[in-house]
Symmetry: C2
Subunit: 484 residues, 2 copies
């Protein structure tokens, strides 16, 4: 319950007292079944905060409902709906909690849910968000594309693999990166995360497992776990995956595939070295180990071009390659792609049709024009300059405020700085302290249970002045945590 923001309009100049207005609105939510029996109400403190009224006003409303036997407090704290039968019908109510708790898909980690919620508060400073901030989005370019929407039909369903013209554009686009493919071996998806979801439910038997880097993109790991697939972790160093550890994990667990972000790794910013890439390809080929290459940050290089994709060296169809427009153009447009052997793409396209009937045709149309009209190349160059300046400012702020107590990477591309804090700092405590000051941080343990003293910073989202301010405040909070 506490998750849902309450967006009620209380009318202060109405004749009905505020507490009665609140009571009425609570009552309505209960009587129309939105808050079924068993639902826990938000705390009185939270209600008061969200409604912008005194806590005593909320208490009055709650007491009123309790006197009707509609809600009741319990010992564990919190107030629950216990009855919704104003109309005196003796009805059984569905225990939705039982349903909610029994679904196969795992819930998000509490920390992620807290972050998801906090992110939509307008007043929060998001220090770790991995997407381009509002000023970095090409709004004017997209508006131009939209205003000029030609006779192209984009309101009907698309082909199972996605819009053909978009796939042709992607063929050209990835060719520049050394990947040779044809439209039949491309599937359009609603972002790289969905690609992983399709792979998890479409290509792996039960039971089976995968290997992923530690740390890694948390959502991707979660998708596999929720599909009932085990996730083993492989350690990294500055060159990328530690091959000896990988061999060990492969021998021990015989996983179905390896998930890797070789270029501008999330969250560490690491670029896998050429040597490691060659070793990994050889291993994949000699052991018949499929790889998922998540390459969504490639174009966001800042100093020099990164090594070519693993996929460009893949002569045996061992690699499932993921690309996306989320980081380069717009996360909200939800357009990404998988490049893989045709039988794999056929299978994944079939599952996508069964689960969401294809990605938005309108988004696909805009993505096609984005690539075809040369916007990507122009925007990319501009975006790089912006990100370069932002990275340098964040590095300078870190140097100034964390030079004596932290350690971090200098990213050559992507969005992320992986900041190590002193071991005496309890990061979850830091998270809570910072959130109280409206500073949202991404604790390292979200990316790797063992990363108890890291946080992920991103220079892509927050306004730079606010980000610098946050770094300064974080130093003070870190010191506070150290002193305890």
């Amino acid at each position: 319950m506490s998750k849902s923001k309450l967006r009620w309009l209380l009318e202060r100049d109405q004749t009905l007292p505020l507490y009665r207005q609140i009571e009425q609105q609570l009552r309505q939510r209960i009587s129309n079944g939105e808050w079924p029996v068993g639902t826990r109400l938000p705390s009185q403190r939270k209600l008061a905060e969200q409604l912008g009224v005194n806590r005593s006003t909320v208490t009055q409303a709650i007491d009123e409902l309790a006197s009707w036997g509609i809600i009741a407090g319990n010992k564990g704290g919190g107030t629950r709906v216990v009855n919704n039968t104003w109309n005196r019908l003796a009805a059984n109510t569905i225990n939705w909690d039982r349903y909610v708790e029994s679904g196969a898909h795992q819930p998000n980690l509490p920390a992620i849910r807290q972050i998801n919620e906090a992110e939509y508060r307008a007043d929060i400073i998001r220090t770790g968000t991995g997407e381009p901030g509002p000023e970095l989005l090409p709004t004017a370019r997209i508006r131009h594309i939209l205003a000029d929407a030609s006779d192209e039909p984009f309101l009907g369903y698309e082909e199972p693999k996605g819009n053909l013209r978009l796939r042709q554009q992607i063929v050209h686009y990835v060719a520049k990166q050394g990947i040779q493919c044809s439209p039949e071996s491309i599937l359009i998806v609603s972002g790289a995360l969905q690609a992983l979801q399709l792979i998890a439910i479409g290509l792996l038997q039960r039971p089976s497992s995968i290997v992923a880097e530690a740390p890694s993109y948390i959502q991707s790991v979660r998708v596999f776990q929720s599909a009932g697939i085990g996730v083993h972790r492989v350690a990294m160093d500055a060159q990328g995956i530690k091959m000896s550890h990988l061999r060990q994990q492969l021998t021990e667990h015989q996983p179905g595939l390896l998930y890797t972000i070789p270029t501008f790794h999330n969250p560490t910013g690491t670029i896998m070295s050429n040597e490691r890439r060659a070793e990994l390809l050889e291993l994949s080929s000699s052991l018949s180990l499929p790889l998922i290459e998540d390459d969504v940050y490639r174009e966001l290089w800042l100093d020099e071009e990164p090594p070519p994709p693993l996929k460009s060296q893949d002569r045996h169809g061992n690699i499932l390659y993921l690309g996306s427009l989320s980081k380069m153009m717009s996360p909200g447009i939800r357009v990404g792609w998988i490049i893989a052997p045709v039988p794999v793409i056929d299978r994944l396209a079939d599952i996508k049709m069964q689960t969401d009937y294809g990605s938005s045709g309108l988004s696909q149309y805009v993505a096609t024009r984005w690539l075809a009209d040369g916007h990507q190349a122009q925007h990319q160059a501009w975006l790089r300059e912006q990100l370069q300046a932002r990275r340098d400012r964040l590095l300078a702020a870190l140097e100034y405020h964390f030079g004596d107590i932290g350690a971090w990477n200098v990213p050559a591309g992507g969005f992320y700085i992986w900041l190590r804090l002193p071991v005496t700092v309890h990061v979850h405590r830091l998270f809570k302290l910072a959130l109280r000051e409206r500073i949202l941080i991404h604790p390292g343990y979200m990316y790797d249970r063992a990363a108890a003293h890291h946080i992920r910073l991103s220079y892509s989202y927050a306004e730079m002045g606010q980000l610098e301010h946050s770094i300064q405040r974080l130093r003070q909070l870190v010191k506070q945590c150290m002193d305890v």
Copy 2:
């Protein structure tokens, strides 16, 4: 393999002979891993047809590759890639077939895959497609909305439950249908099919089962099966679900929920009577049986308004209500919604964030404007007139050509006519005969295994002259099948 259309450009005036061009292109697909070892090549007949060359030209190219030991025929017929090592590396190749066959999600039924493929052939007449045809799409209105895209941000990620303004518009929209809810109890999804997918993986334990009408929307049933959930069927009559059979199924199987399309049922067009609705609501409440009410056809009434949604009578939060813009405005925009108790919506929103990070923000923006600016109401009225005229023409054609050998419903809304053919007609044979003449029909067995003598017709998609022609041809083909 046979599924992927080949879209190769052969240059007829090039100096390289055609068969060498074909050989090169085949070779490229094999050497870059798109067609890994084990891939079955399209048949020579099909290749020739798709490339627009003589079969002997294809044979020449195939022989060339076979002489290199790259491909080989097998006894079962068909040619497979057996080697891809021009470069003489001794590499192991991944057996993708094993992966493709072992995923948890079930493949689509072959008939559905055939239909999915055939639908994207430009020359096909689609007699059963359940979406508005190109002339029924509000392309001008949408272009107007796009051209006028205001300062609204639509390129970033949306809230977990979807764009708030869209959810507020939906609150107003469904209020007209008698449903009272607030934005917190709405989740924006990429169409009703995705809603079912989220419910299947988010709310039902394993093992468990559901009950669905027989016949029913095939994809919805499939989604549950693929998630490992059993599907029991309940018989229908002209009033909707047969309550005695439902009680029997509930007692016997104790399913987790009931999936129903009470208004303009797919594929039979049935409207559940008021009496049955009351009975069903009472049953749901007395047995604590959750219902999924799929109500995507509601606004497409042709003669008079249908009874109000079950959800409008739901005082206990027993109903998960599904709506969508796919049938009314655009299937390609992929915008639908679930209205349900808040704890359920919280849970499903969390899973949606984990699997695709929310629906296209651009699509959500257009949907918001569509509802807010009054387009929906205006377009609906126009669409009704169009569909009415189309329905009447299709009914007249059926009367003329099938009056003596078929039986069908007269739909009061929605898209569908459920045509019963003589029992001596083998519908799968009819499907194949019709497809040869570029007429695509939807066999009844897709919607219900027992419906061996039905086909689903739709007056929403095909151009009416072509649809009438198809009905005439289908009569002849049916007669042909009967004579055998």
